[in-house]
Amino acid sequence: MKNRLLVLVMVLSLILTACAGGQAPAASNEPATISMMMWGDPAELEVWNQIVADFHQAKPNITVKVEVSDWDSYWTKLKTLLSADTPPDVFAMDAPLYLDYQSRGVLLNLQPYLDKNPDLLKGVYPQTLDAYKTPDGMYGLPRDFQTIVLFYNKDMFDAAGVAYPTADWSYDDLRDAAKKLTVVGSDGKVSQFGFYSDLWDMELIWSEAIWAYGGDIINADHTKTLIAEPKAREAWQLFHDMMFEDKSWPDSTTAEEYGGDPFLAGVAAMTTIGHWAVPGYAEVNFKWDVAPMPKGPAGQATSVNSAGFVVGKSSKSPDAAFEFLKYVLSEPAQKRLAELGFACPVLQSVAESDSFLKQSTQIDQKVFLDSLVFAHMKPVFKGYDEWSSAIGDGMAGIWAGEVELEPTLDEAVKAADEVLASNE
């Protein structure tokens, strides 16, 4: 009887150690399977499956399992997995949210790997790397980036006899052109708007305009919101005048009736958005092109934001995970991303090659790259999501035409500063 018990204990401990053995970190040449999770749509999944297949060919010992969810469920799923301490080995990260994760210690510091691969980031646009830098190194690497540019409907410009936007346009030129492109129907309602952009998130228009007017978004140590300072107010006033005086910019209620994107719906002549909109806009039946963001009194400005990959701190195969991140920055992978057409490749040699510049959608792709010269980084700090929601929610009433600009702006800034104070 006693012997049997002993055997049982031994068998059990053998099983347990066998399990533990399976979890030991795999050396770089041992076969490893890593999981990779990202947000995206089916077209993106297809391309990533190709990239993963290419990677497997280059590194036959590493297998990558890709899982794609839509934006909202991606973050819910990710947080659940992280709280259960079973995160995917590699997962996608949006730069503004990066510090919310990095500061909570769930990401692997990639600096030791980067130190061993000093040439890895040589050809990468430096503007896309800044977001991932922390005092103790980089915890993530960019895969592609977005600059915001001006999209315009050529057919509408031709019909109104207005000259296409140029790189020298100012915000006043934008306002004038938008006014000329606005068409009021016989029933007194606007049937065509000169301009539309969404004002909830800063990325599409308001951060760019505030920078161009010489203002700023938030102070350097992220304790004070600056969007109600005098220079920033000029930008807000411009939007407000275009929307409610010129009526060349539909308010949010009207925009919602056109599916949230009046430019795509063919009722707005211009919009400002990033490269992610290109595949969708490629389906429309009007001619369009892109131009750089307009200039303000303080010069030209746009926003640059990148999506990247990070490695979970508890990853069982960090070496294999880093190999994959390395591969994402390689020429073949970046080429595939360029051809996908949702974003700009971070590798300069690929961005400036025909893979990106001569895509199936025939527009001036170079505008997206040239905009980097005057691009500001979208703010990155812990608590970004709650802070930006305080501003977006707080000001939504203005753009629905329900409340006054000035007092609402002051209130939104107060709410945003309270969020900053509570996230100290």
Partner: protein, 295 residues
């Protein structure tokens, strides 16, 4: 209150045997998460780092945070309009559907259809009805020479959304009431008619008292549904970032937990909601003892 039959002898064994799987699920699934939520409501937790004890700080925030207060006010307003609306309208429709009318099956199906249709799809159709510049409702108003109304602007959105939610709930309410109505013996109405009671008297003195159990049940269910209402509200009033022009508590809980890394605060809100619903239920059961008639 006495319901149905009492199990006897061997039946008791089978009763528990058959209930066991459900009870195990409830015990470990529902009860486990209830206990976890209660504990978390006293903690500061961002889901990624270990929770720390926060005392009643999350509960104090419930009364301080303007957005949380706004969402609670919205939920209460919504419930106050939705529950009576669902109960009264679905009762009236059930009474109409209980008559021998040609094609009554078709009508019943039509009223029940919203209950089995995707809320997202129907909300899109409601968008077409409510739209300010392109909506069908304003088109009709303008044809009649009236001023168009911005149905989904913040000032009107609550009413617009309550109407859609009531419309979506009528079908299920109708089924509950139809079941209650068919259980009323015909003789009662016939006897009353012979005694000279008109239809109006018959409805209020016979039908309503006899279906008080259904009214009680439907009020209870509608109240719970009202506190959890989300899909139509989201589809009709959403703003970017998970916001709404009339955010209800469910919105607030979700955003606090999943967007703002504040699981403790979200748990406290969930407990608050549970306590409110529990108090309402206690009130309903008190009313039930006084007014509900069981044959």
């Amino acid at each position: 209150m006495e319901y149905g039959l009492k199990p006897l002898g061997r039946e008791k064994f089978w009763l528990w045997a058959l209930l066991t799987p459900t009870l195990i699920g409830l015990l470990f699934g529902a009860l486990g998460s209830v206990v976890a939520t209660v504990l978390l409501s006293f903690a500061k937790w961002d889901l990624l780092t270990p929770p720390t004890w926060a005392g009643i700080a999350n509960y104090i925030d419930l009364f301080k945070d303007q957005k949380v207060l706004l969402s609670l006010t919205n939920t209460i307003k919504f419930t106050a309009m939705y529950v009576p609306g669902v109960v009264v309208i679905s009762l009236l429709i059930a009474v109409l559907m209980n008559r021998k009318v040609r094609g009554v099956g078709l009508f019943r199906t039509a009223y029940f259809l919203p209950a089995v249709t995707s809320a997202v799809a129907t909300a899109l159709v409601w968008h077409m009805i409510y739209g300010r510049d392109t909506g069908i409702l304003n088109f009709i108003l303008e044809r009649l020479g009236m001023q168009p109304v911005c149905w989904l602007c913040t000032e009107n959105a609550m009413y617009a959304v309550v109407i859609v939610n009531i419309w979506g709930a009528i079908g299920e309410g109708m089924i509950i009431f139809l079941a209650g109505l068919t259980a009323i013996p015909r003789e009662y109405h016939e006897a009353a008619a012979i005694d000279g009671a008109n239809r109006f008297d018959q409805f209020f003195r016979i039908t309503v008292p006899l279906i008080t159990p259904s009214i009680f049940f439907q009020t209870l269910i509608s109240t719970i549904n009202a506190f959890q209402a989300y899909d139509y509200i989201y589809m009709l009033t959403r703003r970017p970032g998970g916001d709404s022009s009339i955010p209800v508590v469910v919105f607030s809980i979700y955003r606090n937990a999943w967007n703002f890394f504040n699981y403790g605060g979200a748990s406290a809100q969930a407990i608050e909601l549970t306590v409110i619903v529990a108090l309402l239920m206690a009130f309903y059961f008190w009313l039930e003892r006084r007014y509900v008639v069981y044959e």
